[in-house]
């Protein structure tokens, strides 16, 4: 007896399904969950008996047929997707990474999630510059302008880190809404980044690192997106000015030619198309620190400069929209991460959070990086609720929705790190549910 997993229906959210429902995003997705799950695509078939296939009896294609290689044409549905109705302006919107198909921990650059605030510019790197200066001359004695080439001549480091939009999983703050893990958790990616520690550049510009408390990072996009970055992460050499991602230059959608890397911190602070760093002693209170990326709390106050992405995990398979055919052994797999450091444990429950067992980590455990876990499970053809729960090396435990909402309420679309549940019915259909 074995199990096959049917993929989730793709492109199941259309302009029509959006129109059928209210304008509000939460209602939109809540409706769609119920109406689209019956539509499915067939899974990869199993050969009945061995044959000698044609590719074994004739030569294949020549070398360098595609100078920049492409994925197999049989890898389908492994694409960024937009959510109809998320934003009326596609230049100020987001696309979600296909976590359900991700293997290991590295996100291929072509399916890295996107969040742009005024579209992505197509920048000629020869015309791009990075200005480093201070609020006044006393903070930076030798302000400088660097070309991209200048930066590439300097000593570099390469590090693997996750990046997560603070709005990731925001759709689930009130109730289970999004149909698949791509939409519930897909504002998440993980890459190897190559660049220069910002501290090195600041020292080269004569920055007063004793008085400096914050740096402002500004992008070269039309929005001139700006964020306040804590000096501590600069001083301990975590903050990088990166030009490389997964072995090549950054993709334009991810900030080419320069992006600030701020490990453990929400994606909006990883300023893309980085063109300016200012050193100062006060936080900046920019638009994206006052009107957006702020967290309304139950007492009516907003938490400001909330930046860290706390310990979190999600099962990527089986996950919403997929269907288990048959009974018996199946592998539960997923991702865990924490902005505080390394993942220490991941636990999995198949009974909705009553009983937990420790999962295995399948690869390296890196600080502020995605970590892949797996768990052996026998699907008996009876109902189950699958959950994962991560614990990081500061011993911080990922909360349940009950624990999360008791403290933070349900108004903030940001920083939702509560435990995700996937319901499996007796027929093997997997849906997004919440245990409340």
């Amino acid at each position: 007896m074995h199990i096959t997993i049917e993929r989730a229906p793709e492109h199941h959210l259309t302009a029509e399904t959006v129109k059928q429902t209210a304008v509000s995003r939460r209602q939109l997705m809540g409706m769609t969950v119920l109406s689209t799950l019956s539509a499915g695509l067939s899974s990869i078939g199993h050969a009945q008996s061995l044959t000698i296939p044609s590719w074994t009896t004739s030569p294949g294609f020549p070398v360098a047929k595609t100078p920049y290689g492409q994925p197999s044409r049989f890898q389908i549905g492994f694409e960024r997707k937009t959510l109809p109705g998320l934003s009326p302006v596609p230049e100020n919107s987001a696309s979600f990474s296909p976590l359900q198909g991700l293997l290991g921990i590295i996100t291929p650059s072509g399916v890295h999630y996107e969040r742009h605030h005024s579209g992505w510019p197509d920048i000629d790197p020869r015309e791009h510059r990075l200005l480093i200066s201070g609020v006044d001359q006393s903070f930076v004695s030798k302000p400088k302008v660097f070309s991209v080439e200048d930066l590439q001549r300097l000593p570099s480091v390469s590090r693997i880190h996750f990046i997560e939009c603070s709005g990731n999983t925001g759709s689930e703050r009130l109730r289970a809404t999004a149909p698949t893990v791509q939409y519930t958790h897909g504002l998440l990616s993980c890459s190897e980044f190559t660049g220069v520690p910002l501290r090195l550049l600041l020292e080269s510009c004569g920055a007063d690192l004793n008085r400096a408390k914050y740096v402002l990072a500004e992008g070269a996009d039309a929005a001139s997106l700006t964020r306040t970055i804590p000096m501590e992460l600069v001083l301990n050499d975590e903050v990088l000015v990166a030009y490389g991602q997964n072995g090549e230059y950054l993709r334009p959608e991810n900030g080419f030619p320069l992006r600030l890397i701020v490990p453990g911190v929400q994606g909006v602070s990883w300023v893309k198309w980085l063109r300016r760093i200012e050193v100062g002693d006060e936080p900046y209170g920019t638009r994206d620190e006052t009107l957006h990326y702020i967290d309304p709390m139950p007492d009516g106050m907003h938490q400001q400069y909330t930046s860290l992405q706390e310990v979190k995990s999600v099962i990527t398979s089986p996950s919403g929209g997929q269907r288990l055919h048959g009974t018996g052994y199946t592998k539960i797999t997923g991702l865990a991460w924490s902005g505080r450091g390394k993942i220490q444990y991941v636990d999995v429950s198949t009974d909705g959070g009553r009983n937990w067992k420790q999962a295995r980590i399948t690869g390296e455990i890196l600080s502020k990086s995605l970590t892949r876990f797996e768990f052996d499970w026998d699907f008996a053809g009876s109902e189950a609720i699958l959950q994962s729960r991560a614990v990081d090396d500061s011993r911080h435990v990922q909360p349940t929705y009950a624990q999360y909402r008791a403290v933070r309420g349900s108004e903030s679309v940001y920083h939702n790190n509560a435990i995700q549940s996937w319901g499996v019915d007796a027929k093997g259909q997997v849906t997004n549910v919440q245990v409340v």
Binding site: K144, S224, V265, E282, G300, Q304, D347, K357, Q403, E411
Partner: protein, 221 residues
Amino acid sequence: MFKWFKHTALLVVLLPSAALADRFGSLGEPATEQDIHLWDTNIRADYQGLPTGFGTVKSGRLLYQQKCQSCHGATGTEVIVFSPLVGGTTASDVRNGKVAAFKPPIKGPVSTLMRLPTLATLIDYIARAMPWDNPKSLMADEVYALTAYILHLGDLVDENFSLSDQNAALTGQRLPNRSGFTTDHGLWPGEASDTGGMGNGLIPDITPARCMTNCDPRSAR
């Protein structure tokens, strides 16, 4: 002895990097005053960087009709493209400095003036990112005029009001949500407030136990 060791270790760590910085000192061009003036145009929350200039509600109205109204609507309360600019605030909010509508459940669209804690931020954003299709095209006087008009649409200033670099900070004291923000939380990964930074030094607000058997997933504890 321990202290001496600590200082030595610090020197060992710091000296090479300082030496390296000198070694790479020739990389990058010195930025001129003109470079900095052209690119460093942001205005900080404490109004550092505010450009000289002024603008009236009346001139702002005309500019708004020409450059803003198609997206933001005639009254600024409409949801045409993005969330509304004004609306959702009361005279009592203006007195208290805290918008009562943020007490959950938050109903209806949230406007810019409902959230905005400092006027510097609005001036900064309009100057660097608006209008949507032609950002950085507005002169300082135009930015002040548009900001004044938005404040007027939000019933915060009368139609004879003029906003300038001289009265911007004082005018910001009328914003209805000026006291509606806190940095007392565990999500700021920098220096904590008790030593001059922000936040509580990454102390988590939700601290579940790692329960393994017979757990109650519905319990908030």
